[in-house]
């Protein structure tokens, strides 16, 4: 979607994503990249309202309405930057010429946002693999063959903890 002056308007990606809303956060799983993200309230509000028709000022007004507090456009730009880096936008947003890079720190320092209202998109990484599949040793995994029924199986390896039995070189399987 393009605005009259040729600038693209941000549009949230919808395909191949799974979402779950929890209190104060939106969890998003990218089925293509197999990555999960956690969007805080501010980032989630911006993302949900990116419909390819709203400008950055529209998004700031929407955020302001939904959160009952004034929202600066710089906050929207920061959110869009993070959403774009996480491949959660379909349309790349054209930044206005001369707009300096916006960092979280600069917004807090300028008093534009507090740490709570700062948009945040973080990748969800399990601190330790906590899969509930049947664990196997590296040798059992190594003994499997990609071409066997079931292939390498993707079972968690234990030990090493955190690894999975996946395809190795030349039809072999390995814990990695």
């Amino acid at each position: 979607m393009k605005r009259g002056n040729g600038h693209s308007l941000p549009k949230a990606r919808k395909d191949d994503l799974v979402t779950r809303q929890i209190t104060g956060e939106l969890l998003v799983y990218d089925l293509k990249r197999h990555k999960a993200f956690c969007l805080n309230n501010t980032a989630a509000t911006v993302w949900k309202n990116c419909n390819g028709k709203r400008t950055v000022s529209d998004l700031a007004a929407t955020l302001s309405n939904e959160h009952h507090s004034p929202a600066d456009e710089k906050v929207i730009w920061l959110a869009l930057d993070q959403l774009e880096k996480s491949y959660l936008l379909d349309t790349r947003t054209t930044r206005p010429v001369g707009l300096p890079p916006i960092s979280r720190r600069s917004l807090i320092r300028a008093g534009i946002v507090t740490a709570v209202t700062l948009p945040l998109v973080t990748m969800i990484t399990s601190p330790v693999a906590a899969q509930a599949g049947t664990p196997i040793t590296d040798t059992v995994c190594f003994g499997r063959h990609q071409m066997d029924p079931g292939g390498c199986g993707n079972n968690p390896c234990s030990p090493p903890v955190g690894a999975k039995c996946v395809n190795g070189p030349g039809n072999t399987c390995k814990c990695a």
Binding site: V18, T19, R20, I22, E25, L27, V28, Y29, L31, H34, A36, C38, I124, T125, S126, P127, V128, A129, A130, Q131, A132, G133, T134, P135, I136, T137, D138, T139, V140, F142, G143, P149, G150, G153, N154, N155, P156, S158, P159, V161
Partner: protein, 356 residues
Amino acid sequence: MFNPSASSGAGNLIARLLTGAWRPNPEPLSLSPEQLSITAPLLLSTGAAALAWTRLGTFDVTTNDLSDLREGYRKHLIDAAVHELEIVDLFKRARANCIEPILFKGWALARLYPDAGLRPYGDHDLWMPGQDLERFYRALADGDDYAFCVEPHITFYPQYERSFDDVMCRSQLVSLNGAQIRVPGDEDHLRFICLHFLFHGGWRPLWLCDVALMVESVDSGFDWDRCLGGNRKYADWVACVIGLAHQLLGAEVAGTPVAKRAKSLPRWLTEAVLRQWEKGPGMSFAENFSFSFPRRLLKPFALARSLREHWRNPIQASVEMNASFTDAPRALFQFGSLFLRLPEFFRYFGHEIRRT
């Protein structure tokens, strides 16, 4: 009767933390930062982080350990959403090939929890007749690559004493995202998860939460004779696992036929579970001495560690030796299980030597 709150140690702390954690509004619990730093890695590595979080989450997140548990909850929740898509896809593929599997554990249990993120599962255990297996693999290979973990089973432990047809007759269809997913009847499922807990040496506290949840969810129509039917020894095994859920996690068993047994478990059983929880992830029952012996020979420390890992805990040794759960010491069964696995070890060793 054993009282986990009166003892110290990581196993006891985990038991305290998970007490009632499967209930909709579990009682909040406060642990010291030291206690948290001991238990958090164990909870994360055994998949019980989210459950623990429900009891600790009402407090401000001030430590890395609490943040890790919270992150575990997020991970489980979003993974569950993805797994649900996979399950629907699996049943669609199976049914398109005239296969009707039964889904055990995983989502079949997770759906009973108050929140989808509380009970993680990494693979999908499907039971199907042996003649359907090849067709099922072909169904999986059709079309897009599947990257998820499916574990088809054509048999279960003999001690389960249930045939596929028998379980199928009493199975139930449960709705998931508009699809009908076949899961076992509650009686057959409870029996299965109790045996599964024993055959894996009880290393995952989450499994005992599953048992506690199922026992507390049974309604007046639950057929205990069906659940405990068959060989009396195996019925006692099942009763002992329910007893563990009662003694270690506070599961309510009043009014059930296992209430009396639940109060008088052999001391070695509760101790073995707590010791295993303190150690973290354990060895699968199916694994004998399967590790790369020639490679480990060059690293004596790694060899010693591998051998130690393959020493069965009293629970696994007892089920492997088909022993009753009496008060008798378990060392004999542990040695017995070691000897029982020696032929397999030598067979595997020969294979490893040839391969190396």
